[in-house]
Assembly symmetry: C2
Homo-oligomer: 253 residues x 2
């Protein structure tokens, strides 16, 4: 397990579990997995899987158990508020077979923050954590997320999710920096697919992706290369640019 004091993480794989009917019914466009993908990439950590599931306890528990076993760390988003559809903390507790208990320190923090009279049943509900979990307090909310084993339980509200991720970002910081470069392409993918495949095969340390697009009838796309070694990136970029130039010349003949 990583600790906040660590400068770098040992996480090789991280999954995100988005919990919310509102995403699956198209009411809301998913934003937190996207934010996390960008934020983690910037600290040298790549997401391995995103799962989006409804507010159904059995589904949350099964998915969480699968991701917890399969990946080094799991981040969940959503379902930790005070209403009836907020069932994430209970589901996490059930997934680890521990009770959900009021967290005394958190109750104290909330009492200080809201005043004793305003510590409603709904707010007390948000101070419950799975037994053994540590609260994750961020700048944007007095109501805690939780860390239990390798599972980070965050809020679904985007500014709170972002702040909670920020507060434990060192846990995910690998010390590597990914370099990503894009090459604009104005040829159809099918015209250079074989040659690009050969370049990928001879450079397995660099990830090469091809993303087609079009502008009117004109093919426009990009080839994206990423890795951690600047010189290797430059070399692969060079090979791709030469290959594309040859293709273009050949097309114009």
């Amino acid at each position: 397990m990583p600790h906040a004091e660590h400068n770098t993480t040992s996480f090789q794989s991280v999954a995100i579990l988005i919990i919310g009917n509102e995403v699956l019914s198209g009411l809301t466009r998913e934003a937190n997995a996207w934010f996390a993908a960008k934020t983690l990439f910037d600290v040298g950590c790549k997401l391995s899987e995103v799962a989006i599931v409804p507010d159904i306890q059995e589904t949350i528990i099964n998915t969480l158990q699968r991701l917890h076993q399969q990946y080094d760390a799991v981040i969940t988003s959503g379902g930790i508020g005070p209403t009836h559809d907020d069932i994430t903390m209970q589901s996490v507790a059930d997934a680890f077979d521990v009770p959900l208990l009021e967290h005394a320190e958190t109750i104290q923090l909330m009492t200080n923050f809201y005043g004793e009279d305003a510590l409603t049943e709904g707010r007390r509900r948000m101070a419950r954590l799975p037994q053994g979990a540590k609260p994750i307090i961020c700048e944007q909310s007095i109501c805690p997320g939780a860390l239990i084993q390798n599972v980070y339980v965050f809020a679904g509200i985007p500014h709170i999710f972002a702040s909670q991720l920020e507060s434990v970002l060192t846990h995910f910081t690998t010390g590597k920096t990914f370099i990503r470069q894009e090459i604009e392409v104005s040829l159809p993918e099918s015209s250079f697919a074989r040659e690009l495949g050969k370049i990928q095969s001879s450079n397995p340390d660099i990830e090469i992706g091809s993303y087609p697009g079009r502008c009117g009838k004109q093919p426009t796309g990009k080839i994206c290369i990423s890795g951690i070694d600047k010189k290797r990136i430059a070399s692969v970029r060079n090979q791709i640019e030469h290959m594309l130039k040859d293709k273009k010349n050949h097309e114009n003949q």
Copy 2:
């Protein structure tokens, strides 16, 4: 299995599998699951799960097999182009343990479209389908998606994905129409959580979701109610509005 001639579907549950490193590394914001969620909701069909996985054959195969067994239908997005990172068709074939074969009719269509000379190796690659699959041809692309058993294999490029979904939308059309209404709320969730939970318990046929937000320091949020019976929606809306009014009056005393 549904057929294009059907007016309504028997699908009770649909999952989407998004295949693409570009989404997991934060390069691209996921758009197709969002589009599908909205489009399916409008024809009375709700998504049960979204999975986003990288361009790794073993992961695609395992995830596809799980979703295929767990849900009535699965839509995949991405990885059916001509380049080395397009491994979805091969993965689908492997998942069903069938060979990936050139589809004769599709080759004929592509020959007519591009001309024989321009039917490059890359384009031929896109005419390969898992044995037994039917091609899904849409208005936006001559390169086919595929339907095999309960799995719909679509492109990742958004306008092609949308067009392919459109071309088989009757497969997903339930004949029900979801009604969704939103109620604006200017109280903190914790102040009405218990009462809202009671309303949900006594109205299990209507889905009630609470989505908090804020404007500066002011809580603003929405309660979303959805179902298929207009009168029942109106009744639940009424109960919620009364409850919120009581809370607001109580707050102002």
